[in-house]
Amino acid sequence: MGDVSVAAQARPVAIGPVTLRRHQVVGLFYIVLAAIMAVLAGGGVSAGASSTFDLNASGVAVQLPKLIVPSAGTAYVLSGLCAFVGAIQLVRGFGTRNGIAIGAVAFLAVAVFLVWAASGRSMNIVGVLQATVQRATPITLAGLSGVLCERAGVVNIAIEGMLLTGAFVAAVAGSAFGPWIGIAAAALSGGGLALVLAVLAIRYRVDQIIAGTIINIFALGITSFLSARVLTDVPELNNPDRLQPIAIPVLNDIPIVGPILFANNVFVYSMFILVGVLHFGLFHTRWGLRVRAVGEHPRAADTVGINVLGTRYRNVFLGGLIAGVGGASLVIGASGRFDREMTAGRGFIGLAAMIFGGWAPVGAFLASLVFGFADSLQARLSVLNVPIPSELLLMVPYLVTILVVAGLVGRARAPAADGRPYEKE
């Protein structure tokens, strides 16, 4: 896979009589993007308008001054910076630091967009970032579930169904026995579906994407069926207590960072911990080495005495537990009730985050933040009455996913035995 994309990068593009190298095409693209941003954002705001960014979360002690910038001027400056990056790219390229250039351009584009959207209004940036972390939580948990399964060589496309089932079970068990039992039951329901996936994929060697799709269809059907048949009759079963945010003393008072990272609910904290634990576990322990061996070369792993099928069963089950908790976070951590099809593709977005993050826990988390940001920004913009149809904003997370998968999957490499059943000889 990788060698082909390198070949594609080196291929010159002929535009009329001029032949351009790939980095020059990208440079031109950046410059055109800068021009578009300058015209749309710089010219699109009324003269003399300013954009206000509130840097304070609600109810914190230390108040920071609001950041007020002239809309048009700032947009022009940021677009100019973008054009500057494009010029360097055009002249000599960034070589190995290409990723940083892409990141800088993306950051500038988002900044210009924010300046335009906040023109004549006040936008609470800390609020957006706070929501980013919260909305990234189920996506990260889905991504971590994917990392665990795929590092052991099992493609788990059923995460969506596990999230949905987890959400349903969390709502019912949480209403009946309290939030903690709700979370535990949700985790077990995800684990149960994961065992079905594992048996189908490992024991019966069903194609893993088909097995996952079957579980997704089943989860969609059974949760819709039960919510229509049971929850509409007994609404008390769809009213679990929500877990409130717990502010961590002292850390919580740090301006900007404090409210974003240290005033969250249990799901967010456990996600942070899980990202760290899985990163350490996968890359710095004997367990992780074995898991990765099973995912890369099961025959070799088997030869040295690693139990390939056992490792796969265990990892898929663990992945299911995590996905179940992710589903619970949607109900007990956020909405407080179950709704039909409420996951809205977050499981799949989590898979995309896993791919974007290079099958690594930290990468998956960072990628989830991108999706969380897109999601929280669209929610904030629709509140602010920004003149963009809300449907277009709602498309953004999905479009970002497509861009990410199209742009990066070629460079990231999946575990070599991902998706292939293993048969002992």
């Binding site: 896979m1 082909v4 994309s5 070949a7 291929r11 795929e150 493609v155 496309i157 189908l200 019966y204 060697r205 069903v206 194609d207 893993q208 994407i209 088909i210 097995a211 799709t213 079957i214 579980i215 269809i217 089943f218 969609l220 059907g221 059974i222 819709s224 069926f225 039960l226 229509a228 048949r229 049971v230 809205a344 593709g345 799949f348 977005i349 898979l351 995309a352 791919i355 149809p389 449907e391 277009l392 709602l394 498309m395 999905y398 479009l399 996913t401 497509i402 998968v405 199209a406 742009g407 999957v409 070629g410 490499r413 999946a414 575990p415 991902d418 998706g419 292939r420 059943p421 048969e423």
Partner: protein, 432 residues
């Protein structure tokens, strides 16, 4: 054209397509005579039939155990509870059958009397089943075609939306055309709309290696939002309506009814014709040979000079176009207006149908009619017994599970395992 940038997928020695029927005789067997061929056809039906029976049985369990009264009764008085359970299930499945196939007595009476009204009433359930089956045939063919080239098109639902959007647009904007021009244009628009939505994952896969599963799923969500957006704005929204509902298509764009008084239209024979066309394309044309070659062994196909990238794009476009026809077939009928959620998940049923039909056009038609019956019967079942229509989805998921894991059915029913070698894998993870 430059060389297609499709990666050479790693040579995969043990990768027959998912559709290779495990019940098939080994390749070394002598050429079958008529008797053995019949036996083989019957043999290949055993697993699907057992899968359907098992799926319905599990559906019955779901009905029983989601009913608090029956569960309570089972605890207090098992025998009475069992009676109530059997009664509840037979009422539900009875309503499902009379709602989808009809009441045999009524059909006999109608045929005897020859009265038009009673004829309509007697055959309405079958007509409804065929109405439901029509988009399922198109969408099932779409997914099956993808499977044959090793592509998993989960995006039939989104492609179906785009087909419906395009078809309705042509249906209400062009006015004053005779039907024999307008109707084909509308059908063509549906075809193109789906093809456009199928082109995107195709080109992304060919050029960047983006896995079609993720891209098509995301495009489904984009299609839902797109429809919501269009229905709230001109030119789609119906004048004077505050609801998200489209203008009505012109009468000249409507597909005529097959039999006066029944809702089933000429779309149904058109769907059968399309199935025949897909069968010809796949098994008797050069292009179809290339599709299947890429699906069976991309490495070998590349060596043989087949352009994999172009084949992938073309397959996704045709697959999308077929799904687009499914959307058009829902729209270009008697109602002719677009509303959000006009499809009860036809595109997802299509995956189950393609698997159940083993990606063969004839199998797809049979499976689509079965699912049409389930879908058409579910609504009257809900009306008569308050059992939510989502039961059908649960039943479907089990049917497909038993189909996809034939070894599971053989284990449950203790059928002797035929000698097959290799494993059923056709998707090879994200990288390839």
């Amino acid at each position: 054209m430059t060389e297609p940038t499709t990666p050479p997928p790693a040579a995969e020695p043990t990768a027959p397509p998912a559709t290779a029927a495990p019940a098939q005789a080994p390749a070394s067997a002598p050429p079958p005579g008529p008797a053995t061929r019949l036996a083989r056809v019957l043999g290949s039906l055993v697993v699907p039939i057992l899968a359907i029976v098992s799926g319905l049985f599990i559906g019955a369990l779901v009905i029983v155990f989601s009913d608090r009264e029956i569960v309570g009764l089972l605890g207090r008085d098992p025998l009475a509870g069992l009676g109530a359970a059997v009664d509840s299930v037979s009422r539900a499945y009875g309503a499902l059958l009379t709602g989808s196939i009809g009441d045999p007595g009524r059909i006999a009476d109608a045929l005897a009397s020859g009265d038009a009204r009673s004829f309509e009433r007697a055959f309405r359930p079958i007509s409804e089943s065929l109405v439901r089956a029509t988009p399922l045939i198109f969408a099932g063919l779409a997914v099956a075609l993808g499977f044959r080239s090793g592509l998993f098109n989960i995006g039939a639902e989104g492609q179906l939306y785009l087909g419906a959007i395009f078809a309705v647009f042509v249906g209400f904007t062009l006015t004053g055309l005779p039907w024999f021009i307008h109707l084909p244009l509308t059908v063509l628009a549906g075809f193109l709309g789906g093809a456009v939505w199928g082109f995107i994952p195709g080109i992304l896969k060919a050029r960047t290696g983006a896995h079609e599963v993720i891209v098509t799923i995301m495009l489904n969500y984009v299609a839902y939002r797109l429809l919501d957006l269009l229905l709230k704005n001109q030119p789609f929204q119906r004048a004077g309506s505050a609801n998200p509902i489209s203008k009505i298509i012109e009468e000249s764009a409507e597909m005529p009814q097959l039999i006066a008084g029944l809702r089933v239209t000429w779309w149904f024979p058109l769907a059968l014709l399309t199935a025949a066309g897909v069968s010809w394309l796949l098994f008797h044309s050069t292009r179809g040979f290339e599709f299947r070659a890429v699906g069976l062994n991309p490495g070998a196909a590349r060596y043989a000079g087949i352009r994999i990238g172009r084949t992938l794009v073309l397959t996704m476009m045709i697959s999308g176009a077929l799904a687009g026809l499914a959307g058009a077939s829902v729209m270009i009928a008697d109602e002719g207006t677009l509303t959000p959620g006009f499809s009860p998940g036809y595109g997802f049923d299509a995956i189950a149908i393609a698997l159940l039909g083993r990606s063969r056009p004839l199998g797809v038609v049979a499976a689509a009619i079965l699912f049409g019956i389930l879908r058409a019967g579910a609504t009257p079942m809900q009306a008569a017994t308050q059992i939510p229509i989502d039961l059908v989805v649960v039943v479907q998921s089990f049917i497909v599970m038993f189909i996809a894991a034939p070894a599971l059915v053989r284990t449950i029913y203790r059928i002797r395992t035929p000698r097959v070698s290799g494993t059923e894998v056709f998707s090879k993870g994200w990288g390839t």
